[in-house]
C-alpha cells in the first residue's frame, strides 16, 4: 500500500482531525450544534446517538456535502474547509454512506478506480490488466476475498462494503467514515468487516464508525462519542466507560407523557389480530404477538431488526415464509394488499413519496382512490360525485387537512398534511386495524403532536393501531405496548407501566440481557 504511514512510527495520540464549535442549521432545526470533536491517527472512533442526533449531518460536513454555518475543521493542525466532496477527498477523507456510491454495472476494479483508471502507454485506452492487478493488490492487503472482475450488481452488501473500503484505500485515505456498515449484514459478514476495520487501524488509518449496535462499538472502538439533539454529549475512552453510561448519554431525558393520555384499561381486552410463529425471509424469525381492539401497539427495532418487513408482510406487500395470522379469531391469508384491505386492515407506508402519494393527482383523488370503485354505481361505471365529496369532507374535517381546495395537487401540501391524507385514505375503508410505518417521518413538530393526538382519538374509538418508529419519544409515549425486535427476534416487551426509555434503547441495540430485559 503506497503512502499509508507506518503505524509504528506514529504516536497513537497524534491528532488527525478536530472540529471547533461546528454548527450546521437547516430551516427550523439545528442539526449540528457547536460540536467539538476529534479523531486521532490510527484510532477507531465510534459515533453513536439516536435518530436525529446529528451524526449523519456531521459526517456529511466531513464529506463536503454540507458546508457548516459556523466553526472550524482542523486537519494536521491546519484549518481546512470542504466546499465539495472532491475537496474532502483531496484531504484524504472517505465517507462510506449507507447507500453506496458504486456503479452496479461496472466491475469491482472499475469501481475502485472510477474516474482514475490507469491508462495504456498512449494514454487513451484503459489499461484493464494494470487496473485489475492493482485492484487485486489492494484487496489482498486487506485480505478481502473478492474477484476484481465481478460486477458490483452481482456481489453481496458486505462485499460492496469491501469495494467501498478498497476505493477509499486507493485514494490513500487517512480517515474513513463508515455509516452503519453492519446494519444489514449477517453475523459472519460482520466478523469479516470487523477484521478489515481492525486491519485498517493497524495501518494507521483513522476510522469514524457509526453504529446503532453498542456491542460493536465496544468491541471495535478505542473511543466513543455520543451525540444527542445535534450536540456532543461527551467522548469516552472505551476502556473507561460501560454500556449503561453510554445509553444514559444517548437517551438523556425523554419527557414521559408528552403526548396524549394513555388508552383504555388493559383488562378485558378483545384480541383483533393475532400473529403466530411468523417468519419473513431475511427479516424476522418466529414472531408471535396479539393486537387488541382499541390499542396502540408499537413494534420497535433499529435498521436490520426486521420490523419494517414484518409489517409489510402483514399487509401482503412482501410474502411471508411461514406462520399464521388470525383476524377476529379467524385464520386468514394475506397474500397481497387487496386481501388485507378486504379484511379491514389499513396501511400507511414509510415511503410517502415513492409508495404512498399519487403526485400527479389532486388531494381529493389521492384520498378517495382506495374507495372510488365502491363509490360508483354499477361496479365502477359512474362515480357518484356528491358522495365522493361528502366522504372527502368528512375525512378533511376529522383530520383537519389544510389545503387550498380539494383540487389542489397533493405535492404542494406540507409533509404533515400529506401524511394526514394517507392516513385518511385508509380510514375511508372503515378499517379495524391500521398499520403505520414511521407515521411522523419528515414532519414538523406541531404536525407530529397533532397526528399523535389523532391516532389516540382513533384508538379510543376502537381502532387498533400497530406502528413502528425510529423516534424514541414516539415509542416511549404513544403506544400502549411496545414490542422490541432485535435481529429478527423478539427481544423485549414493554407496557405503558414498565416503559423506560433507557431500557427500550438498550433492547433495540441488543443489550436487553440483565436488568434491561423487562417483561419478556
Amino acid at each position: 500500500m503506497p503512502n499509508v504511514r507506518d503505524a509504528q512510527t506514529m504516536s497513537v495520540t497524534g491528532e488527525l482531525l478536530r472540529t471547533e464549535g461546528l454548527t450546521k442549521t437547516f430551516p427550523g432545526v439545528v442539526a449540528v450544534d457547536g460540536v467539538d470533536f476529534d479523531v486521532r491517527v490510527g484510532e477507531i472512533h465510534a459515533l453513536v446517538g439516536e435518530n436525529g442526533a446529528g451524526k449523519s449531518t456531521l459526517i456529511k460536513v466531513f464529506g463536503g456535502v454540507y458546508i457548516p454555518d459556523k466553526g472550524k475543521i482542523i486537519m494536521d493542525g491546519k484549518e481546512v474547509a470542504f466546499s465539495s466532496t472532491h475537496q474532502s477527498q483531496e484531504s484524504k477523507i472517505a465517507v462510506i454512506y449507507q447507500e453506496f456510491n458504486l456503479v452496479p454495472d461496472l466491475s469491482v476494479a472499475e469501481n475502485i478506480f472510477i474516474g482514475r483508471e490507469p491508462k495504456t502507454a498512449l494514454g487513451t485506452l484503459i489499461d484493464f490488466r494494470r487496473m485489475n492487478s492493482r485492484a487485486a493488490e489492494i484487496l489482498a492487503t486487506l485480505d478481502m476475498p473478492l474477484n476484481v472482475k465481478s460486477f458490483v450488481a452481482d456481489i453481496s452488501v458486505a462485499e460492496r462494503q469491501m469495494v467501498e473500503i478498497a476505493k477509499a484505500l486507493s485514494h490513500e485515505s487517512r480517515l474513513i467514515i463508515m455509516d452503519e456498515p453492519t446494519a444489514t449484514l449477517t453475523e459472519k459478514e460482520v466478523r469479516k468487516i470487523f477484521e478489515i476495520v481492525k486491519n485498517l487501524r493497524a495501518r494507521g488509518v483513522s476510522i469514524i464508525y457509526i453504529s446503532h449496535r453498542l456491542e460493536e462499538a465496544f468491541e471495535l472502538a478505542d473511543r466513543i462519542t455520543v451525540m444527542r439533539d445535534g450536540r456532543k454529549v461527551g467522548t469516552r475512552q472505551i476502556a473507561e466507560t460501560n454500556k449503561s453510561e453510554i445509553i444514559e448519554m444517548m437517551v438523556g431525558k425523554v419527557v414521559k407523557d408528552y403526548f396524549a393520555q394513555a388508552g383504555t384499561s388493559t383488562e378485558a381486552r378483545e384480541p383483533l389480530l393475532e400473529v403466530r410463529n411468523y417468519s419473513v425471509a431475511d427479516a424476522v424469525e418466529d414472531i408471535s404477538f396479539t393486537l387488541y381492539k382499541g390499542e396502540i401497539l408499537a413494534l420497535a427495532g433499529i435498521l436490520g431488526s426486521g420490523v419494517h418487513r414484518m409489517l409489510q408482510s402483514l399487509f401482503g406487500v412482501i410474502p411471508k415464509k411461514s406462520g399464521d395470522i388470525f383476524f377476529q379469531g379467524r385464520k386468514v391469508n394475506i397474500d397481497r394488499p387487496r386481501d388485507a384491505i378486504r379484511l379491514g386492515i389499513g396501511y400507511v407506508t414509510e415511503d410517502r413519496k415513492n409508495a404512498g402519494l399519487l403526485p400527479a393527482m389532486s388531494v381529493l383523488h389521492n384520498l378517495t382512490i382506495i374507495i372510488i370503485r365502491a363509490l360508483s354505481f354499477l361496479r365502477g361505471l359512474f362515480i357518484r360525485d356528491g358522495e365522493e365529496r361528502r366522504r372527502f369532507e368528512g375525512i378533511r374535517t376529522t383530520l383537519d387537512i389544510k389545503m387550498s381546495g380539494p383540487g389542489q395537487r397533493i405535492i404542494y401540501l406540507s409533509g404533515g398534511n400529506q401524511q394526514k391524507v394517507l392516513i385518511g385514505r385508509t380510514l375511508l375503508t372503515d378499517c379495524k386495524a391500521l398499520i403505520l410505518l414511521e407515521p411522523t417521518r419528515g414532519i414538523d413538530v406541531g404536525a407530529k403532536a397533532e397526528i399523535h393526538r389523532m391516532l389516540r382519538a382513533l384508538a379510543d374509538k376502537g381502532l387498533s393501531v400497530i406502528l413502528t418508529s425510529s423516534e424514541l419519544p414516539e415509542l416511549v409515549n404513544l403506544p400502549d405496548r411496545c414490542i422490541v425486535l432485535y435481529k429478527g427476534r423478539k427481544a423485549a416487551e414493554f407496557t405503558r407501566e414498565t416503559m423506560d426509555s433507557e431500557k427500550l434503547v438498550a433492547a433495540q441495540i441488543g443489550q436487553s440481557s440483565g436488568e434491561g430485559r423487562a417483561h419478556v
Binding site: F315, V317, P337, R338, A340, I341, R342, Y347, T349, N354, A355, G356, L357, L358, P359, A360, M361, H365, I369, I370, I372, R373, L375, S376, G380, L381, F382, I383, Y412, R425
Partner: protein, 320 residues
C-alpha cells in the same frame, strides 16, 4: 409566468391552432369556408380517435406503438370479411380482432412485466406480419360500395367521421373522468406502487388500457378503410408518431397521471391543419412527416421547459 404555464398545460393547443388558422387564412382565400374547415376536421378524425386511446395509455404511464399495425390488421379483416358476413358483422369482427391484440399487449406488459416500448414495438412487427400474411401480401379491394358511407358520407351536411370522432370523445370523456377505471388509470400512471397498496388490481387496469387503445385503432381503421374501399395490410406507415404527437401536443403529461382529452381532440384537428396547409402550398407528401416530427419535438421541447421552470420555481419556494 407560473400562471401562463398552468394555462399552457390546459390550453396550449389553442395557441397552435390559432397560429395555424391565421397562417392558413392569409395563405388561401378558401380556408375560411365551412366546407374546408369541416374537411380538415374530418381528416383529423383518425389521429383524434386513436389519440383518445393513446391518451389513456400515456396517462397510465405507458404508450402503445402497435396502433398502426392493429389498424392494418383490422383493415385486412374488414376487406376479407365484408363479402362473407356482411358489413355490420365484419366491422364487429375486426374490432374484436383489434381489441384482442390490445388485450395481448396488456397481458404481456402486466403479467410478464415487459416494458411497454418493447412489448408494443415487438407486437407491431408481429401484427404487421400477420396482416400481410392474411392479405397474401397485397391490397384487397372492397366491392361493397355502401361501406363507403362511414368514411365519406355526410349527415346533415357534416362528414360522418366527425360524428364518430365526437361520439367516441364523449365515450372516452366518460371513461377518463367519470369512471373508477379512469381514476385508476391516472393513479397507476402517477404512482404504481401506491395504487397497489390501495388494493387496486393494477394488472387489470393495464390490460383494460391496452385493449381500449387497440379498440380505438380498430375504429380508426374502419373509417379509413371505408374511405379508401381497400383493405390495406400496410396501412398508415408512421401513423403512430402522429398519434403520439397529438397526445403530447394536447397536453397529456408524458410522466403519466394527467390526461387532457380535450387537448387530444384539438391536436388531432391541428395536425390535420398542417397537412392541409402543406397540400395548399403544393409541398410533397414527404414534408408531412417532416413537419409532424418537428411539431412533436417542439411540443416536447415546450413541455420540457415547462417542467423545468415549475421545478425551479418550486425550489425557490414560489407557490405553484
Amino acid at each position: 409566468m407560473i400562471r401562463f404555464l398552468k394555462l399552457y398545460e390546459k390550453f396550449g393547443i389553442f395557441i397552435f391552432i390559432f397560429a395555424g388558422a391565421v397562417f392558413l387564412a392569409f395563405a388561401t382565400p378558401n380556408f375560411l369556408k365551412m366546407g374546408t374547415i369541416l374537411n380538415i376536421i374530418a381528416q383529423g378524425s383518425y389521429a383524434a380517435l386513436v389519440g383518445y386511446g393513446m391518451t389513456l395509455a400515456v396517462t397510465s404511464g405507458g404508450f402503445d406503438l402497435s396502433v398502426e399495425s392493429v389498424m392494418a390488421l383490422a383493415s385486412v379483416f374488414l376487406a376479407i370479411l365484408i363479402p362473407v358476413i356482411g358489413i355490420p358483422l365484419a366491422i364487429l369482427a375486426s374490432l374484436i380482432v383489434a381489441t384482442s391484440v390490445g388485450v395481448l399487449n396488456g397481458l404481456i406488459i402486466s403479467k410478464l412485466k415487459v416494458n411497454p416500448l418493447i412489448t408494443t414495438l415487438g407486437m407491431s412487427t408481429i401484427i404487421k406480419g400477420v396482416a400481410l400474411l392474411v392479405a397474401g401480401g397485397k391490397m384487397i379491394v372492397i366491392l361493397q360500395k355502401q361501406f363507403m358511407v362511414i368514411g365519406t358520407g355526410r349527415t346533415l351536411g357534416i362528414p360522418n367521421p366527425i360524428y364518430v370522432m365526437v361520439a367516441l370523445f364523449i365515450v372516452f370523456y366518460f371513461i377518463v373522468y367519470r369512471t373508477s377505471f379512469g381514476r385508476h388509470v391516472a393513479a397507476v400512471g402517477s404512482n404504481e406502487s401506491a395504487v397497489k397498496i390501495s388494493g387496486v388490481n393494477v394488472d387489470a387496469v393495464k390490460i383494460g388500457v391496452y385493449a381500449l387503445v387497440a379498440l380505438t385503432a380498430g375504429l380508426a381503421s374502419v373509417v379509413r378503410t371505408s374511405q379508401a374501399l381497400i383493405g390495406m395490410p400496410s396501412m398508415a406507415p408512421g401513423f403512430v408518431l402522429v398519434v403520439l404527437t397529438v397526445t403530447i401536443l394536447g397536453g397529456t403529461s408524458l410522466t403519466g397521471g394527467r390526461a387532457n382529452l380535450w387537448g387530444t381532440l384539438l391536436a388531432g384537428v391541428f395536425v390535420s391543419m398542417i397537412y392541409y396547409g402543406l397540400n395548399l402550398i403544393n409541398l410533397q407528401i414527404f414534408y408531412q412527416m417532416l413537419s409532424v416530427g418537428l411539431v412533436l419535438m417542439l411540443a416536447l421541447f415546450i413541455e420540457g421547459l415547462r417542467l423545468r421552470y415549475l421545478k425551479a420555481a418550486k425550489a425557490k419556494g414560489i407557490k405553484v
